[in-house]
Symmetry: C2
Subunit: 299 residues, 2 copies
């Protein structure tokens, strides 16, 4: 089978990203769609994938990570349990009875029994980062709607925690009483930094500090951009206070080049930590490439 | 004017409650509607009030508390600033140029410059509680969408804090990733109690503890009723941790007889505090009665 093209796919709740790969690991094309798991029932995955694929003769291998492997997805790929290495290509579940043009493999996520936690998709970013940085010991932070902190030692995921910080930001800024006071854009570095310190020092006051943003808008004309930066600072400060056992005295790698990853990196640097940055999409692709190489080795 | 009927009105964001009062303080009728401030523009208040009133000859006094007095309401009643006694009837703003059948007075809310905070409506419940308990020194807790803790000393509101705990519960249970895991009803006392202790001891972990509710549902079949009680425990535990300077070593009165007030009272009793309970609606009416009596004295 050496020398064949293959497909890498990142299939999350709200998106499907597909790379058409040549055998030497170069990307021949990249395709993005909104055909995420959330929009599909179990019969919808195969047509969505076929529609996104180039027209090719024979059977093509598709290596998939993300929510497509959940119980509500295309085909369940049961979680690996910590401590474990990130799931490899040989752990991927082959989707049964597909169209003969595709050989679809879905990578498992990782679970932790206590404190209960799960990931699907991020384990492949971790695998990609470790493929490029094989000796890395420390903590990988993956900002997003649900930010993950992953403790890596000797190539294994030892433990991890997920914080719903990004989702709280979205709910509070768009659907709570604060929506009248929070801007949809704009920023204020000093306000972010002050709120970060405030929440790290006194995280319990979160629900009262939120109302103060509204009251400061009413009483002191707090600007929407400043309120936005303060909301972000309060949320990330509370998260950093709880994640301190993860990052304190550790090497930290933040995966992501977008605005949110910059904010996390800045917050960590403010704690005196050297922070490595890496592109999250590239890590996903590197993880899928490593998984594909593993099944080709064993084929 | 002695001997005339009058109207008491609690006009909030989402409701309008009207009591037709006789001069001796008995309630002749009670009327509830959903004509809250949120559904009205500034021209809509007078017709909404007239439609809710009994058909009466002459001019009737209407004593109003709540959001009708906000800048976006019927007629702004500027905030009193702490420390202050709860606004009295003589502080009420007379709505100009109304229909001659009504003489409408709106009670001010209370503001606090730092930490910035505001209330509109709760000050009248506080006034009602103090009218019935004139020697009270301690803390009044008013559970709700936005729970207030009010420190009372020598008849004055010394300071207060608002927590958006109830709003967070609604957003998280109905609109976040947790909506799949949280029941709309059901309860589990032990789960509430455990989560309360957990959040009081480690409030910063809030955003991770939330995701654990989802993960425990996926991994360990956490029941929707237990998840609901734990979410409530996490939120109220975080609030009690921050409000500790308010309640520690104090007499605490919880205003409310509903489920939420019971939950707060139970959480406080668990901290070894004796808790007084009082009916919130009755306190509002007592506050409006006290305000009406004040303007009649000075008339």
């Amino acid at each position: 089978m050496a020398g064949q093209d293959w497909i890498a796919a990142d299939w999350g709740t709200s998106h499907l990203r597909i790379w058409h790969m040549s055998a030497d690991g170069t990307v021949k094309s990249r395709h993005d769609s909104d055909k995420g798991m959330g929009t599909l029932d179990s019969d919808g995955f195969e047509p969505a994938l076929l529609a996104a694929l180039p027209d090719l003769p024979g059977t093509i291998t598709v290596m998939i990570c993300g929510m497509a492997g959940s119980r509500q997805g295309w085909c369940e790929a049961p979680y690996a349990a910590v401590p474990c290495t990130p799931p490899s290509g040989s752990d991927a579940v082959r989707v049964p009875a597909t169209d003969t043009r595709i050989d679809a493999r879905i990578l498992p996520g990782i679970k932790q029994d206590s404190p209960a936690d799960v990931m699907r998709g991020e384990e492949t970013q971790v695998a990609g980062f470790l493929a490029l940085n094989p000796g890395f010991d420390g903590v990988i932070c993956l900002p997003g709607t649900h930010c993950k902190w992953v403790h890596i030692s000797a190539g294994e995921v030892v433990s991890f925690r997920t914080f719903v910080t990004g989702e709280l930001f979205a709910l509070l800024s768009k659907q709570s009483v604060l929506r009248h006071s929070i801007g949809t854009e704009g920023w204020d570095d000093a306000a972010f930094s002050g709120a970060l310190d405030q929440a790290m020092g006194r995280p319990a006051a979160f629900a009262a500090d939120l109302f103060s943003l509204r009251a400061e808008n009413l009483l002191h004309d707090l600007s929407p951009a400043t309120a936005r930066a303060r909301l972000s600072g309060l949320l990330i400060g509370m998260e950093l206070a709880a994640a301190k056992p993860y990052w304190l005295g550790q090497s930290v790698a933040v995966l992501g080049e977008t605005g949110l990853a910059e904010v996390y990196a800045a917050a960590l640097e403010k704690q005196g930590l050297p922070v490595t940055r890496a592109d999250a999409e590239r890590m996903t692709l590197e993880g899928l490439k490593a998984a594909y190489a593993q099944i080709k080795e064993t084929a």
